[in-house]
Amino acid sequence: MRRLCLVLAWLIAGLAAAQGARLPAEAVDAFHAALRNKDTAAALSLLDRGLVVFEFGGVDPTVEAYALTHLPFDMDLAVASQWKLETRRVGGEGNERWVLSTYRVTGKQADGTPIDQVTLETVIVRRTAGLFRIVHFHWSTSDAGFQARSQGQRTK
């Protein structure tokens, strides 16, 4: 009986810790805020377990793959740069919505080289239990040279 209570307790604790957002765009903004705040758990809690990420020509096919391989870098970049929202459109209906955003990203690389580009972001969010979580990211850039260099790295 004690073990059953224990299991229930941590299940309830897990649910209490789970996050999401009431509005589609809030899920996106909260994810970026979590990265900026170095809050890995908060960022993960905004991701649907079916997440697939397309990022500069590469694919993270599972949420776990993204969490392990690219989320840390996205957090590093979020901390080292400023993301100014320039445009946003939200659409879809029911429990599936999309959020299209462009950001002016500025900052400095580790060697002092400036970062200054426009990042294009497509996000699909899904609502479960009243909260939206992110099921797909697609990031690219309007900087053709940057995009080419990114994809070139993948073919090496």
């Binding site: 776990e64 900052g107 580790a110």
Partner: protein, 129 residues
């Protein structure tokens, strides 16, 4: 690539795990945190009430920057977040560690629900409660 890292890549369904590819290589920024990822290799012994607060693990990641073992005692106070499994996104504070065993603080509840091959990351930052 180490076996544990290859295994983690297979478990996570990623054929490119840990490859520094894409914008990671084009934009180089300082790490926001010191991190060590890992995979569970054995569960700790439960206490009399069935609560688990420890596990054995092995570091995973790029071979060039990943130690073969955890530096004993160095992860104390770090935040530990699960990146896979039932406890996905759950965060704990590391109370102590040896080269292969990590024990978390009881303040955040037990680790029950973790399983072999679950993947986690330990980060040098205080856990906010």
């Amino acid at each position: 690539m180490r076996f544990a890292t290859r295994l983690a890549a297979a478990v996570l369904g990623s054929g490119i795990a840990f490859a520094q590819a894409g914008h990671d290589d084009v934009v180089r920024v300082d790490p926001a945190l010191k991190r060590l990822a890992g995979m569970i290799t054995a569960l700790g012994e439960p206490d009399a009430e069935g609560r688990i607060y420890s596990f054995r693990g092995t570091p995973i990641g790029p071979p060039a920057s990943t130690p073969k073992e955890y530096p004993p005692g160095e992860l104390r106070g770090w935040r530990l977040t699960f990146l896979a499994g039932q406890r996905f996104s759950a965060a704990f504070e590391v109370q102590s560690n040896t080269d292969s065993e990590i024990t978390v603080s009881a303040a955040d509840g037990p680790l029950n629900g973790i399983a072999l091959r679950d993947v986690f990351v330990a980060e040098e930052i205080e856990l906010k409660r």
